[in-house]
């Protein structure tokens, strides 16, 4: 009687494991496409990130900033330093 139970149990375990392996393998085998999709998405996000970094770098370049400033009517400040007058100043 005990022997029979062991045989049945072993069979159930073997069948369960086999089925489990079948299901897991089946699922994993079809995940390649999803993985590829994720890789493509990662690449696209990296490229987008790179493009945005370039845009920030280009837009903050001194050449662009000075050209835009000139377009908006700003001009280079002429710094004039006044000499101390030779006479005493009294209010």
């Amino acid at each position: 009687m005990k022997k029979n139970i062991l045989v049945v149990l072993s069979t159930i375990i073997v069948i369960t494991l086999f089925s489990g392996q079948l299901i897991v393998s089946n699922r994993l085998a079809t995940m390649g496409a999803a993985l590829t999709e994720m890789e493509v998405q990662t690449d696209e996000l990296l490229k987008e990130n790179e493009e945005l970094s370039h845009q920030i770098a280009s837009d903050s370049s001194l050449m662009v900033v000075s050209n835009r400033a000139a377009e908006r009517g700003f001009s280079s400040a002429t710094v004039r330093y006044l000499e101390r007058p030779a006479f005493a100043y009294q209010p």
Binding site: A29, G32, A33, K47, L62, Y81
Partner: protein, 556 residues
């Protein structure tokens, strides 16, 4: 019986043939078939490392990377070369003939164009041309376009077609910037998708390290803009502006014209690639005088209070030496020798120094060797043998003629005066940043002591007088104590000096009490006036006027 034997032989023969065929496939063709199977199952890819960035001192990039592609064609799929070229040419902005020439020239794999940007690749893909492929190859991206091109250098290809840095920082730090490629081996299914439970070997690439410079983008922009305008104003053929921090030897800015665009380097003549501040030599002229005078003070051959009787031309080894304007002022002080830029006064000082003193100065200045700056193309200046120095050579050297020096050697020597007499190694890179953000700081390096601190202080004061009372006094900004010296050196052409061709220069630093910058300006063959006081000096003060407020300096 005979039939049985025939059948047996036929069966044995058939088995032998099968065995031989199996032997052929399994033993003789084993390697070939294994490779074919491997290529079908496994996807192999060399993962190129990202080249390190070059950043200015505020951390913003001067050079970064941009995704680009090599467009290639597999010849066996190209049916009509003319049609192929006709469709590709307008998108790639190439001549039809050059594309068809490439397709005719190669038999199997034809590289059509390197470093094509993504938008262009997308347009080409829409053509759906058979046999056209794209291979990723990053290209450099310059947010500030050609700013500091001579310092940066450019990235080209080596003999194997791999990216390689040439000239400037790209050349000097090529190994640091390049990194190491990675590798990917991945099992794939019939559709090319990865098999998740299959074999995967991945070695990550080691991306290149980034460089953070001493260079200040704003100072660089000011120097380049002003130099460009000055070249037009004074009609000069070429010009350099170098600005350095005297305390660290760090280069804050270096502008040279004519320059080139590092992205389109192949469209410029080769001679534009070398950085003139380290690769070209020139005769420094009168800007060399403070260095000689300081040496005489240092060796106690003269005192700042000594005088010289400037009564007329002097003769050395049969050669007559005059002042630049043939004016003589009688008894003059050491300070006035610099103010009048007196050649005959300097000949007197060199005679007091003697041959040993003069050669000791040249050796201390590092003539005949490199400064050690981190730029690939630095030239080793020529220094003649001790026995070859004649009295006339020593005399002309005292006023900066007859010797060749690079602009970086000149500014470094003046920076030593600003730095209490200590000569620093000029340097561009402040720190190296690895992929994981780890920073390796490169500390400033002292080369040697050139003058004692008191000597440096005295000569700096005499240089202030030279600015305030010398030929360039008209252009000086009042309220700032700037030490400086003008220079006008004739250019040697085929063994003699051409009086019409000069290199006008001005070197100085300020404020004298606590120098924030040292600047050297050189203009080659200015046509509006040959004199440094009328060309290089105004450019120096034009730039300095912008630097004063930027550095938070105000008039006293």
């Amino acid at each position: 019986m005979v039939r049985l034997r025939i059948v047996t032989v036929l069966i044995a023969g058939a088995f032998t043939l099968i065995w031989l065929r199996l032997f052929y496939w399994q033993v003789l063709s084993h390697e070939l078939l294994s490779n074919l199977a491997d290529n079908q199952h496994f996807f192999r890819l060399e993962i190129p490392p990202a080249r390190g960035e070059i950043r200015s001192r505020d951390g913003t990039p001067l050079v970064a990377n941009q995704t680009a592609y090599l467009v290639f064609a597999e010849k066996k799929y190209v049916d009509d070369i003319e049609e192929y070229s006709e469709k590709l040419a307008p998108i790639l902005e190439e001549e039809e003939a050059s594309i068809s020439g490439l397709l005719n020239e190669h038999d199997v794999w034809v590289p059509i164009k390197h470093q094509v940007d993504e938008q262009t690749v997308d347009k080409i893909k829409e053509l759906e041309l058979a046999g056209l492929g794209f291979e990723r190859e990053d290209k450099r991206f310059y947010p500030e376009t050609s700013m500091a091109a001579h310092l940066l250098g450019f990235v080209g290809k080596d003999a194997l077609g791999k990216p390689k840095g040439y000239f400037g920082l790209e050349g000097f730090y090529d190994k640091e910037l390049a990194g190491q490629p990675g590798f990917l081996l991945q099992e794939r299914d019939a559709y090319g998708n990865p098999i998740v439970i299959g074999k995967i070997d991945r070695i990550e690439p080691k991306h290149g390290r980034s460089l953070v410079l001493y260079l200040d983008k704003t100072v660089q922009f000011i120097a380049e803009t002003k130099l460009k305008k000055a070249l037009e104003k004074y009609g000069a053929k070429a010009g350099n502006v170098v600005i350095l921090d005297p305390k660290t030897g760090g280069i804050l800015a270096s502008a040279s014209y004519p320059n080139y665009d590092p992205l389109l380097f192949s469209e410029f003549p080769d001679e534009y690639y070398r950085n003139p501040i380290v690769a070209d030599t020139y005769e420094p002229g009168s800007t060399f005088k403070p260095l000689v005078m300081a040496k005489a003070f240092e060796l106690k051959k003269l005192k700042p209070t000594d005088t010289y009787d400037e009564s007329g031309p002097v003769t050395v080894s049969g050669y007559q030496i005059k002042t630049w304007n043939s004016e003589y002022h009688g008894k003059i002080s050491m300070s006035e020798i610099l103010q009048y830029s007196s050649n005959v006064g300097m000949v007197y000082i060199s005679s007091m120094l003697g041959k040993d003193g003069m050669l000791s100065l040249l050796s201390d200045l590092g003539l005949g060797s490199k400064t050690g700056i981190d730029l690939q193309e630095e030239a080793e200046t020529f220094m003649r043998d001790e026995s070859e120095w004649r009295d006339i050579d020593l005399a002309t050297t005292s006023f900066g003629q007859g010797i060749a020096i690079t602009p970086i050697q000149m500014i470094r020597a003046i920076a030593a005066i600003a730095n209490n007499g200590v000569l620093m190694e000029p340097r561009l890179v402040k720190e190296i940043v690895s992929e994981d953000g780890k920073k390796i700081e490169i500390p400033p390096k002292e080369t040697r002591r050139l003058y004692s601190a008191p000597t440096a202080k005295v000569i700096a004061e005499l240089m202030v007088d030279a600015v305030e009372y010398g030929e360039a006094q008209w252009t000086v900004t009042k309220g700032f104590r700037i030490a400086g010296k003008t220079g006008t050196a004739q250019i040697p052409v085929e063994g003699h000096y051409d009086s019409d061709k000069t290199i006008a220069s001005f070197v100085g630093f300020g404020p004298v009490e606590n120098p924030r910058f040292v600047m050297l300006v050189t203009l080659r063959e200015p046509t509006s006036s040959p004199w440094g006081s009328e060309t290089a000096a105004p450019l120096f003060f034009d730039i300095a006027n912008e630097l004063f407020p930027y550095f938070g300096m105000y008039p006293q």
